[in-house]
Symmetry: C2
Subunit: 456 residues, 2 copies
């Protein structure tokens, strides 16, 4: 059973479908792993084995009556930002420390309808607002390979739970790299879906607007992330931003661009760059034709160019509560609120216009190329006591210096995926990011599977 | 030839295709009408008959070599907000009084590729920012039925050109009703397309953001608007916001809601309401099952709830020019700029969040209904000297009081169409608005054709 849990979603569903095992037996194996390993890493934060057993028993009972689904009996986790009816869902904030949502998010509805078994909620930084998973409700998550370092964030709990082998798939989110970067740090798969590919109208909402923050299927393999994606993707009348994937085949001779520093001369630690370069060399050896090509970013592009929106939104949503009770908030969100109180409206409009300029620029880039390859992060995981690394490649960097490779693709609305591509300092994982045009998620996943095989 | 011009795009294309007439002969008929009637109404503002003749001759020459297209030889106009390479395109503003765009908008590219013949640019208010077509470059447009009244706006020149019979189709825009309302006032068809249905990455941009202001196919009949829509719709890799229409058939027993005051108790002039009620009675007599049903709008809903975005964007984009030279701007845009200088960022974020709440609410409404029927405007056209009517149904109203029925559906991202449904004061046309779920433009057009036939 333990082995089956490591063979992935398709193998589990197949075994349950054939009656070779039961959803309940799979759930017991997952529960045993959580009970053995979670305390050291705080990956899962809301955990009720009785509920997981009941969900698995219900799947088994329905299977006997003819029910089937693509993730039949497959356990999954949900990030603590996403509504699961009746569970404790805190958004990493004391504001919701006792909140139990009145309904499921559509993505969760679909995981349940596809035969999945909910295992638990995974940890997130406060309001998913930083790349380091720690909050005032549950404290920090830790890396399964080394509890002294962070799994990154904001889907840090989800990535750590995958790396620890609790489940084959996880539901994360990605508003600026939150799905891709922790996946990179933990050696698993994180897919930032195209804006609109997975409906998400029910939940906390947040600072980013409905297009930039998306549901992120995560997995222990690209195949697993792909199964989770297919279960959750597709338009729903309740979400006006949900749209259909484009019906395009993967290109037969893909035009692949390589942008090791994003065309912005960002700092990248040498160990990360060495692993990335080695991966590119292996892909070339496998026959990939890859040429250097940078996006011609708009003037003023940086990882902080969209900050005014987050700041003003934080002040709008939480300013009053913060004025009354500062202790409800961590330093990071408190800082956003403080800055947001005085941000002029013109700065907010400018940030949204910058986002659109990014999207148009990346779209233009993808008239020349089909895929873009970059590192996923600028450094490997860092000590759990630090919110962010202050020095990368001997250059001082700000709070988003480690995260430079991901957020511009959120603003561009396009899909991106992180797959493991080697290791750096202390054997910690390094990720390769592949980016594709908007709504080309399926060709991207096909390409990521090819890359995963070539790098294995 | 004159008659053929009134028979619509399909008849013209068919006659040109069969060699029964030439694109050149059609263009000559259109040119003759412009030369006879345009001076009184200022519908077309940039007009070069030599260029129209050359474009028509080119279509004829290509046809002889086997070229075909759905609007073969059909003349069309383009609103003076939309880029046509090499033409004078002013956006209704002295800022661009001598601007000639370096390229075509994608919608224009597609009209040309489909065999259309560009006839001229149509008038718009300054930056398309009000429902009354008048600016400092070209002065006011006038209504073809009565030059003492306005054709409305902002696609007022396009609607007047259609009503005057210059062309069967026109390219307008709709950022808050700019395509639907002037169509209503002029007795023609205006389609506000779903956000993303027609790509539009090249042009002036503007205050609204890429989802709210859309290209609006307009026509003298629903069939003509439909042909224009099909020519221009469909995703393009260069526009990250462009998406595919949903592949849905028209519902066999449509659930149709009637909302004569939008559920917001808005003021509507009795002549408009009488024409609207009569049209609904005729649709019911034709077998339509229609029930009363209002959208459950979010708290704070009004036609001005999105204003902070327009104000801040105007200040951002034009604040410096305005500070240096006030005379470059009309009163309306100057007012937006002035107010935008002090709008706080939190108000802008709140406006965007309101837009999203609108979109979700309308999406939820469309899980219960397939179509929504409302009047298009709260009053018929008013004297051309007035920017907006100050009294409707004996109630004092603000600048957007006449326009209350349209902008919320821009924020909702959904398609809506105005078709003629009778007449009011002084015999001026009244329009019926039909709204459908996002990316259901094709079912909407099918329903509008049924309504047009029933009301004929």
């Amino acid at each position: 059973m333990t082995d089956l849990l490591d063979q992935g979603a398709a193998a589990i569903a197949s075994a349950v479908r054939a009656g070779r095992t039961s959803a309940r037996a799979v759930a017991e194996a997952a529960i045993a792993r959580v009970e053995a390993k979670n305390k050291a890493i705080t990956a899962i934060v809301d955990f009720d084995p009785a509920e997981a057993r009941a969900a698995a028993d219900a799947v088994d009972a329905r299977r006997k009556q003819g029910f089937d689904g693509p993730i039949l009996g497959v356990p999954y986790t949900v990030k603590d930002t996403t509504w699961v009816q009746g569970r404790r869902v805190t958004n990493g904030s004391l504001l919701w420390k006792d909140f139990r949502p009145p309904r499921d998010a559509i993505a969760v509805e679909r995981l349940k309808a596809a035969g999945g078994v909910f295992l638990g909620m995974t940890n997130t930084p406060e309001m998913a607002a930083k790349g380091h998973t720690e909050n005032k409700v549950y404290g920090p998550s830790r890396h399964p390979m080394n509890p002294a370092v962070t799994p990154g964030g904001s889907s840090g709990g989800a990535a750590a739970a995958l790396a620890a082998g609790f489940t084959p798939i996880a539901l994360g989110t990605d508003g600026g790299g939150s799905g891709r970067r922790p996946a990179s740090h933990c050696g698993v798969i994180g897919l930032k879906t195209s804006a609109g590919a997975i409906p998400s109208p029910f939940g906390f909402g947040g600072a980013y607007g409905p297009l930039y923050g998306v549901t992120a299927p995560m997995g222990r393999s690209v195949a697993d992330a792909r199964v989770a994606f297919e279960v959750m993707a597709g338009p729903d009348r309740r979400d006006p931003h949900s749209v259909a994937l484009l019906d395009v085949p993967p290109p037969s001779s893909p035009r692949i661009a390589l942008s090791p520093r994003l065309g912005l001369n960002v700092a990248v630690d040498p160990d990360v760059m060495a692993a990335f370069d080695s991966a590119i060399a292996r892909l070339r050896a496998a026959g990939w034709r890859i040429e250097e090509g940078d996006v011609a970013w708009p003037e003023g592009t940086s990882e902080t160019a969209f900050s005014a929106v987050n700041q003003a939104a934080s002040a709008l949503l939480y300013g009053e509560r913060h004025a009354k009770d500062k202790d409800l908030f961590g330093d990071n969100v408190a800082g956003l609120i403080e800055r947001g109180r005085t941000v002029p409206g013109t700065d907010v409009v400018e940030a949204f216009r910058f986002a659109d300029a990014c999207a148009r620029t990346v779209a233009q880039f993808f008239t020349e190329y089909d895929y873009l390859l970059t590192p996923t992060t600028a450094c490997v995981s860092w000590p759990v006591e630090q919110v962010y690394p202050k020095v990368i490649e001997n250059r001082e960097v700000g709070p988003r210096g480690h995260a430079v490779f991901t957020p511009l693709f959120n603003l561009a609305l396009v899909p991106g995926i992180s797959i493991p591509c080697g290791s750096g300092r202390d054997g910690l994982p390094v990720g390769l990011q592949i980016v594709a045009p908007r709504l080309h998620d399926r060709p991207l996943l096909a390409m990521a599977q090819r890359a995963e095989a070539a790098l294995a």
